[in-house]
Structure formats: structure tokens, C-alpha cells
Amino acid sequence: MRNLLTATTLILSAFSISAVQAAEGDVGVEAAMDDRYCTTCHGVEGIGNIAVEAPRLAGMESWYLKRQLENFRAGIRGTHEQDTQGIAMRPMATKLSDESIEDIVGWVGSWEYVPAHTTIEGDINQGRSTFQSCAACHGANAEGNETLGAPALAGQNDWYMVTQLKNFRAGFRGAHPEDTYGSQMLIMSKALRDDQAIINVVSYINTLQK
């Protein structure tokens, strides 16, 4: 994955540029050929980027990240035509090798946990009572539970959780026959009556940030 190529140097050798004043000569360096692209979309050290709707990775559990990357690669996630954000992510993952996934997971794991900014406001009390059923898997403080395959929610971008809950509820995520954990979430999300219920529960999760 790391075969380095001298791109711009090659380009420039083909052209003699007249009137070049700088003595330093050609500019540009070889392109990096690893797959450490994540920060372009997901922000510096994976803090998340609302403008391109890429969620926070800083603090994401390595087992969860690995599974999702593998799901994207295999088309288990990000293939439903209504899953806009998943569809955007999938092509980034289709060509990843196992080694690349491992490299990325290790790299992401080196970033510090940073709780995301909150952007939504719902009824926290309503959200708290709804959350009781979530807590069974995700933990009372939304800290996650590897044994059950339930990721931490605390500190994740609220706008991202809203999108994902809506996607689960509508069957845009978790409907793939091989998405074992996703299908559990699909069923659980049916308990969320409407969009307001989603906003409420996510508002409550916002209060649980580490």
C-alpha cells in the first residue's frame, strides 16, 4: 500500500519552464499512497465534520470501527438507495485491504476522545425514559458494550445519531441479511415513535458525554 511515487517531479521534468526565478527548482512532493484518508472528511483527528456529514471517529471503539469498515467494504452497509451518507462512505471503503483496515483502526485509535458539539435540543426527560431500553445494550451511560456489539453513543455527533436512528427505523440501515447487529438495531428503533422521539433520546444522550 505504501509504494511511493514521484508524481510532480516527473511532471515537471517533461517541461522546461522559461523564466523560472526560484533557484529551488521544482515544487511538489511524492503523493502518499497509504489509505489514511479519513481526516479529509471526518476532520482533524476525527472530530467529525457537519458540513460534509461525516461523523466523529475520535473515541470510536476499534472493534466497532473495524466492523463498520468491513460492512461498508462488503456492501452490508451503504448500499440501500436511501442511505445517502452510507452511499457516500461506501466507495471509500470498497478497495481497502485487511491490512489497510487494521492500519486505519490503529491510527484512529491513537486520537483522543473529544466529545462532539451539541447541535440539537429536545425534551431530555422524555429522552431519558426512552433511553432505558437503549441502556440495556449501550450501557447506562451510553458507554457501549463490546460483548453485545453495541457501540458507545456518548460524545458522538448528535446530528449523525439522528440520521442513523431515522435510517434504522426506515430500514435504510440494518436491513441487509448479513448485518447481524444492524438488524437488532433496526428492530429496536421501531420503539421510537416519531422524529421527535429520536430528537429527545439523542438530546438525552448529549447529556451523557464523558
Binding site: 511538489g28 489509505d35 472528511c41 476532520g43 460534509v52 461525516a54 466507495p91
Partner: protein, 524 residues
Amino acid sequence: MTNPVSRREFLNLLGAYGGTSAVLQAGAALGFMPSSSQAAEISLRANNGKKVAILGTGISALTTAWELTKAGYDCTLLEASHRPGGRMFTVRAGTVIDEIGNYQRCEWDDDPHLYFNAGAARIPSIHSSVLKYCKELEVELQVFVNESKTAWVQDDALNGGKPVRNTDYSSSMQGFVSEMLAKSLGNSEVDSSLTESESETLLGMLRSFGDLNEDMLYKGSVRAGYRSGGFLDHGTKKDVIALRDLLKTRLASNVMVTTQEGTGSGPLLMQPVGGMDRIIYAFANRLGNRIKFRAPVTEVMVKDDGVEVAYEQNGVTEVLKADYCFNCIPSHLMSGIPNNFPTEYTEALNYIRRGKAYKAAFQAKERFWEKENIYGGITWVNAPIQQIWYPPHNIHGKKGVVLAAYNFGGANYTEMSQEDRIEDLLKHGEKVHPNYRQMAEKPMTIAWHRMNHMLGCAPRWARVRGGWSDKEEQMYETLRQPVNGRHYLIGDQSTQHSAWMESAIQSAHYALADLDQRVRSEPA
């Protein structure tokens, strides 16, 4: 000719113009043309070494750095990518396309004529600032041919899917439109609002515009070329394509219009000899090691007396302290970079959407289009590839690079695999040129939505068609004001006419003028 389908509607429309219409008012059109546009004269006060951090190496950043360096400022440019230029990107032998999840390396023949402008490609005559720097930096220009009447129009709904020459299509369309207008002149209200001499002028123009016969009817035109003969023998005209057939394709709107707007395309445009990035390297080579590559900015902190910019290089985080900062990092990427901008500034940054664009090109084994009498211009295709461009340079050379797709909405190319993209361009292209597939060597594709460190084409400000809302105008003004007089946002994102190099350069000039005023007003 078949009966014009919407003649009544058409006449009604004309009638609606009536005598009072502004279109028919005398005098209004005179003096309409703005005087020729001139590049701004930049004269910055010479400065002893104030430090400036310039983020990104888009054309706006390079302009800024060049002007400030000439005036004696101490500039450092931080570029996340391995190459300078952002959306001014030329692909040729050896070039890496750093698309996320779709890395490509160009293996075309090493030949200066064989290149593909994957981003900006065309320079209009009135983009004075672009032209000014080409002149100043001795970037050689040549004419770019934006329209060729021998290029094709292809739509499965037209002519059984067989391509039609642009000239066959446009001559007939012009003929029918002229014929309809001429007829309406005889009996509509428009008539009464024109003087006899005006009517005559208009009729004369219509006759020539549509190549109408004495009865003001369109019966075919030699403009479409001859079916046979034409040099040693008398030429015989081709058959007329019936209006109803012409209307089978929506491509009419593309084929009939080569000048989309004053600043936009026209039949005559320009390009740098050897590729659009000649402009980029003309700046970058002069700036030399002031540019740091693969040095992504990771934090921007505006202070009372300057700006602190953190960036990463070789795995180490460094901090650059500067008096001023000029930033052309795309707004949607700034949203993922920690900063201490005021809330309303951040809100405005987050508001701008990123446009999609997709281009593809291949090296052609032979210049097959020349055998079809095409020497440049655009073939219009009613498929997502939309356009095929033929290189206007190196005529009669051995090979050439064909632009095989240019989709401005992006279609679903962004998500497509490289294999699917290639099959798509070959499949549609071979409807136009039967030997296309055999001629295409090593296709390269670029979906700007997935380009590393860009993730988009043109910034999109307005959310609805037809203009900017007050809120949008307000946010725009917010971003045009430097944060604390220290941090300037530049690039076509801070202009009201994105997707042009000229806009990006003018944004730099605007910011530089502001800086210069501040510097001049400082106590000596």
C-alpha cells in the same frame, strides 16, 4: 416542413411583448456593454518582512503569496496535498489522481501534448486577472476551440440514435426558428410596433440567420454541408431534418448556445500551452520553498496580534505564527478543522454547499476525430457523460487526449467504481464514434466530490434557484470581513460567482486591498 407544434403559443408570446415592451424601446441598448474589463492594479506598500501564513495553494493563495512576496512580506504556504493548485489540475504521464478510494496513476505516453485538464480548462477573453498573470509569468496561451460545427449531437431519441452533425442540427433549427419568426412578423402585433425600416432589418437578419429562401421558408441550407459534390462538381444539399425530429432531443439547449453568459464560454476561449497547471507552476516555482507540501493545517487560532496555525508534517505537529493569515481551504473542510472563529463566521462557513463535477479522459491511439473532419469543439450526448471534447492543439499529431465525460451535476459517478465509470464512457462514446472502444487507451476519471483535500467542485451559496436570500448575502459579507483584521477567507468560495479562476484571483485582490489599507494606517 411539418406544422410547427407550438406556433400559437409562440405567437402569443411575441404578442405579449407588445409595443410597450422594454425589448422594443429605442435607445436602451446603446451603451449597454460595459467598458472592457481590466485586471486590478495591485500596488502594495513595500513591507519589511511581516509574516503571512497562506493556507492551501489554490490560485487565490498563489496570487496572494506572489503579490505579497513581491512587496517584501515573508510568506509561508501550507498545502495538504502533494501538489499545488487545488482545482487547477492537469493529468499527464506520471500524475497521481488522489481520489479517495480510487487512486490512479496516469500511464499515458510522455508527450507534452498529451494532457487532461481535470479541473479548470478554459479561459474567457474577459477574465483579465487570469490573463494578466499569464502575461506577467510568461505562461504561453493558445486558442481553445469550444464549438465545432462538425462535432456530433447524439441522443437515442434522435435519428434512431445515430449521431447527427452539429451543423445539420443547428442549421435546421436556425432555419425553422427564423421561418416562424418571419411569419409572425407579417401578422402579429409586433409588426405595428416596428417601423418599416426596423422590420426590414429584422427580416433581413432572419433570412440570413436561418438561410431562408425568397419566400422566407427554410428549405435546407448549404451550411449543413453537401450530400455530394461541392468542389469540382455542383454540390447537392442534404435533406432537411424535420422540426418535429429536431425537437426529439433536449440537447437543443446545449447545441444552440455556445455563449452561456458574458463571462462564460464562447466559441473562442484560451488555454495554456501544455495544461492549465502551467499557471500554477509558474507561481509555485517562483515561490519555491515557501510552499510546504503534505502539510495539512490542523488548527487555526486567531490572536490579538496575529494568527497561529498548526499543521502536520512528517507526523509532527508544527505551529506557524504569523501576523496575517489568508485561507483558501474549502469551507466544508474548514468545518472539520479546530479554530476559534466567531460563531457567525463558522455558521457561514458551514452553510456553503459543495458542488459536484465529474470528468474523464483517455489517450486516443489515433486522432480518429480528424478523420471525421473534427478538429476541436464539443460533441453533445444525451447521457450522463454529456460531452466529448476534442483537443484543438497538436493537429495531425499521432495521438491526442479526448475528454470523454464532463458532468456538472456529478450524476452518480461519485459512487461508481473505476471499472463502471470506464465502461460507461466507452458505451456511450461508441454510439458517436464506432471505433471509440478500440481507440481509447488508459482512461482516467475524476469525481471531484471524492478528491482528497477538495471533496467538491464549485462552492454553492444559494440554496434556491433565482438568486441569493438576504441571509445568504449577510453571511457572505460576514466571511468577507477578516476575523480580527487577521484572518482572510479567500478563494472562489468568497465570491458571488464561483467556479471561475478569475473569481478566485479577484477574491485575493479584494483581501490584499483590505490588508494594504490596514498596514498603511498602522503607526509607522
